[in-house]
Amino acid sequence: MNPIRTRADSPWGRGVGLRVGGLSWRVSPRALVVAVVFAVVAVVVSVVSIGGGDYPMSFGEVVRALAGRGDASTDFIVNQLRLPRAVTALAVGAALGLAGALFQSLSRNPLGSPDLLGFTQGSATGVLVATVLAGGSGLGLAVGAVTGGVLTGVLIVLLVGRNGAHGQRLVLVGVGVAAILTGVNGYLLTKAQITDAARAVLWLTGSLDGRDWKQATPVLVMLAIAVAVTASCGRALRTIELGDEGARALGVPVDRVRGALLAVAVLLASLAAAAAGPVSFVALTAPQLARRLTRSSGPNALPAACLGAALLAAADLAGQRLVPGHQLPVGVVTGLLGGGYLIWLLTTERKAGRL
């Protein structure tokens, strides 16, 4: 009888021990390759994206300008005008990918993403309140998005309760909160001045137009913090996936780890929304694609972040080039792609009997 060979028989899928002196780590080569490949894809797509527009430039010209060796005009166009937008796209994509990976792992649900758990709607409520009450300057929108997202997070945690912060309940409460906030958002839009409402709707679509360092920096800072926290809590998080009790029995401070990671995920999603609006589906899709490509269980945080950056950069490029002479906001593109992906996912999972 032949033993059944499975995907994990190849050394790719397995963790490989890496030991230096008394120190040791466990690395999955496959996950590392996925992360690096998509990081490279994200950067290449961004360079292509920077090269496009009213003043087209070749790939080489863009790279030279980025390296600080272009002429004055390309240097200005690349580094002053187009780079901030590209970096915002990468940062927002990575933030959404990482936040989605954390939410899906914490909720133990493949649909646990900020879009479905109500955080995106919360950010939107914050923005609408800022718009209606304060007329909505750029900074006001950002503050509104972060405040709305964070307050929604606090509300959901309170509703879920200390003893029930496990997956199913988090998702159900989140979906409920999302529904309520959608209603609130609709009401706020009807109350807004028509010009404010138009601006709010534009934000609600999710767009990278005219983004500069002011939008990119907070997301980048939060990303750095999030990567550090995720790296230090990663093993604990993988253990929590076994169930709260199992994790406690293994010595994981479950409540503390979950609290910290939930806070990080909420802040990532809210800051991403503040920078680019509620770009839909990246947080849902990136971790799932990452899981399929790495073929490993666990949050797959780093591959998900790299995939998120690549997805958003690609969606933005597609939005700029797909319809000649007409730019689509990035949120429209991710919505179209992500919705299709979600339907595909639901049908295949259903066929596989997992849903």
Binding site: T6, G17, W25, A231, R235, T239, E245, R248, S296, S297
Partner: protein, 274 residues
């Protein structure tokens, strides 16, 4: 008779979920190097007691002591290197392989800079060998049969390398052959020098494998001691409300509970079903 030494004891234990009190003022001691089995009817508090002994449930009142210290003051990871619990409600993450799952039992031995030592690899391999799942190492856990899966979970608990092992209904949902397989494994782990505590549903299996039996009802301990002393017809009637005879197990000589035949009602009393 002097009581045997106990590293794990509880006194005055009141346990509750929210406000629903499950047990009140319970005292219990797990004899060292015993295979202790807790039995009792559904909802008698046996799993609750086990969870409190493993510190995953905080008592409302009373204390659990381990090695002479309050278990609540033990650092979490040190506790996890001393006492292992296999809960009922474990979830295998989607797509995880057997060796990966077993490796997660090494968590309390690892640190951020010591994530996968040679010792980790050795213990994981040994745990899989001890439970007979080494052939399955690279298989996905979701492809396994119930019995195999349960052995994988036990391997994970073994990888923790604890001298005390608590198992919450390790045989539930298994067919009879796999139940015996898991219990044989537990007996072997006990024979190797571990203190094993298990919650079991089947009284006959408990009587056969336990060296120390704890019978619970309505959150109280009704009887404890060697199975031959605890399992009597009167006790079974008292604990489970079941009329029975207790005979010697023809295989092992341990008590065997044989439920009494139902008194068949007279034919005239039976409502005809057509």
């Amino acid at each position: 008779m002097t009581a045997p030494a106990s590293r794990l004891t509880a006194s005055g234990l009141t346990l509750a979920y929210d406000r629903r009190v499950i047990t009140r003022d319970l005292d219990v001691a797990v004899p060292d190097r015993s295979f202790t089995v807790v039995v009792g009817p559904n909802a008698c508090g046996k799993s609750t007691l086990l969870r409190a002994l493993a510190r995953v449930l905080r008592p409302v009142a009373g204390t659990v002591m381990l090695d002479g210290e309050r278990i609540s003051s033990w650092p979490a990871r040190k506790l996890a290197r001393t006492l292992g619990l296999l809960p009922q409600s474990s979830v295998a993450p989607e797509g995880i392989t057997v060796s990966d799952l077993v490796a997660r039992g090494r968590y309390p031995h690892q640190g951020i800079l010591r994530q996968w030592t040679r010792e980790d690899a050795r213990v994981v391999a040994e745990s899989m060998r001890a439970t007979g799942v080494e052939e399955l190492a690279s298989r996905g856990v979701d492809e396994l049969s119930g019995g195999q899966r349960q052995r994988v979970w036990i391997a994970m608990a073994l990888a923790q390398q604890t001298s005390l092992l608590l198992l919450d209904e390790p045989t539930t949902f298994l067919d009879i052959a796999h139940q015996i397989e898991v219990l044989d494994l537990c007996a072997r782990l006990h024979a190797e020098g571990r203190t094993v505590v298990a919650v079991l549903h089947d009284l006959n299996q408990a009587a056969r494998y336990a060296t120390h039996l704890i019978a619970m009802r309505d959150g109280r301990i009704v009887a404890e001691g060697p199975p031959a002393e605890v399992v009597t017809a009167e006790r079974v009637a008292e604990v489970f409300g079941l009329r029975c005879r207790v005979i010697d197990d023809p295989e092992t000589g341990t008590p065997l509970v044989v439920p009494a035949a139902p008194s068949i009602p007279a034919a005239s009393d039976v409502v005809k079903v057509t």
